[in-house]
Symmetry: C2
Subunit: 323 residues, 2 copies
């Protein structure tokens, strides 16, 4: 059966071209969970394959979190076979304890599959909207509001690409329905104990209904804008950090910091604390340390971690252990 060319095909084709996301002749590993988003992605890439001459393959990571995870893996294996695509299955020895460690394990597994420099995932604009709300509520600053980007370098040679970031989840659902794609229902998606699920199933529908029907795409667009801005701001801040840092004495040069705008001061200070102390400072901690840029000599912050403070030492802001 010849696949029909839909507006969704046209949109993805345009996105891939204008953003140079997936080069011609590339070998692409599709991370398939079995949910509607990754199924939609796989089918779209298969439909577009001849125009781009890609080599496609399917990978599935089984965290063994649910009783039916083996059945899910089998389901995807059958699907890959029906598509006539190579299939790679990775199964966890023991279930990862939380979402963060699961993600880490998953990416490590995907990277370890040889022959692929590009891994694609089915993250959508709806994921962006939800992530923005999730991080906004948690209070993670502009960076958390921009965390789902089009591409991310996983290793020096392996890149993660998210081609569906302009597609809503309602569109992937419609596509799967139209094409009769066999979606695997993940029962944990309905568990309202998870903040993410409550955002998806309660908060976003309520915002749509009570405030603005377009809120989901507005949020996704906001994340798109903030992503590029954060990337630029971090680049600028890194340059000033490199000029201002003295690694040996763990100190920053205040005369350099004083000349740069507040927005960049904050990011340089954050890079300083993250790189020197290997911890993620909160809003107040950054603000207190920014205060030292113009403070009198010997001014200091409260301890960040384990009795480590920042203190003004003439023209320097210096990290110091109180022991």
């Amino acid at each position: 059966m010849a696949s029909s060319w839909t507006p969704l095909h046209a949109k993805i084709h345009r996105t891939l071209r204008s953003r140079s996301l997936l080069p011609k002749h590339e070998s692409i590993l599709i991370a398939l969970s079995g949910g509607q988003d990754s199924l939609c992605l796989a089918q779209l890439l298969i439909d577009l394959r001849d125009r781009w001459n890609w080599h496609l393959a399917i990978a599935h990571c089984d965290h063994r979190w649910r009783a039916d995870s083996q059945a899910n893996a089998d389901h995807i294996a059958t699907l890959a076979q029906s598509w006539n695509l190579p299939f790679y299955l990775k199964t966890a020895d023991s279930p990862p304890p939380n979402e963060a460690s699961a993600r880490e394990w998953r990416y490590a597994q995907l990277q370890s599959i040889e022959g692929f420099h590009t891994i694609v995932t089915g993250h959508t604009a709806s994921d962006r909207a939800e992530t923005l709300l999730f991080n906004l509520i948690r209070g993670s600053g502009a960076d958390g509001l921009s965390s789902l980007n089009w591409t991310r370098q996983l290793t020096p040679t392996v890149k993660l690409v998210r081609p569906l970031l302009e597609i809503m989840r309602s569109q992937t659902a419609e596509f799967c329905r139209d094409r009769n794609l066999p979606i695997w229902q993940d029962s944990t998606n309905n568990d309202l104990a998870y903040a993410r699920n409550r955002i998806r199933q309660e908060l976003l529908p309520s915002l749509k209904h009570n405030f603005n029907a377009q809120v989901e795409s507005h949020l996704a667009q906001t994340m798109e804008l903030l992503s590029a801005e954060v990337e630029y701001l971090e680049t600028v801040a890194s340059e000033f950090y490199e000029t201002a840092i003295d690694i040996t004495s763990q100190s920053l040069d205040r005369t350099i910091l004083r000349k740069i705008p507040l927005a960049i001061q904050r990011r340089v200070i954050r890079q300083f604390l993250m790189r020197s102390l290997n911890f993620n400072p909160n809003f107040e901690q950054v603000e207190k340390c920014v205060g030292l840029i113009t403070a009198p000599n010997r001014s200091r912050t409260d301890p960040f971690i384990e009795k480590t403070i920042a203190e003004v030492n003439a023209d320097q802001i210096q990290l110091k252990s109180l022991d």
Copy 2:
């Protein structure tokens, strides 16, 4: 009765000093609505007056929106008298038709009162949190997420200052209670027909209860961070705009745009459309115009307004009327 020095006094004193918001010996006009925030602000400034040697005065703008607006004005006049402060009342000839025109009228009235270069308002961190949510839901990009700043130049000589941006509304309420300040209840604050009131009375409490008790201060902090970042990004974009623009031909130089990061390209394009066409482009319009930076010759956008498009003309992006 001697006023007692509270942690709130200390906090405001510190904020005013570290941010250099209100200079010593300044003549300050306090915009007083009669609500808890502006009452708290007025009392705090009165209590701090001797340390800063300010000259204080009270102004009230009566939009004549409510039947009790004259009574509200009388109430504030009495209050100003009890504080022994000069009082200025401005009354609208006819009620402004909406919130935007009311704000415009109000600022014009406040600016017109002679002898004051500084006007202060009682906007709080809670206002920031609500404004961020309001603009996020409407979809106004990073700029809307940063719209309540510490200071804003109203005219070349008159500045608006918002000293309470680190104070929560719960704190101004507590302060008014402790000091027995006579709050004037604005009945329109309870009208859930207004999105802002629904955010204040339903959305924020629900986010607090269902997700994170600290959400209000997280949102306010996010706005604080974004404000400084937007200010910096707009400054950088303005510089590139000035280099890239040719006013006579209403065109931007693509060779300059191609060398700058996406975040700045977007802001230059937006400045271009806002200044040349005097309209506020939406996300898609900016993205289409950004697409022209690398597009083939003669590529064009859809019409923005009244048959005006942007078109690639060799090294230029040019605005053109289709007539």
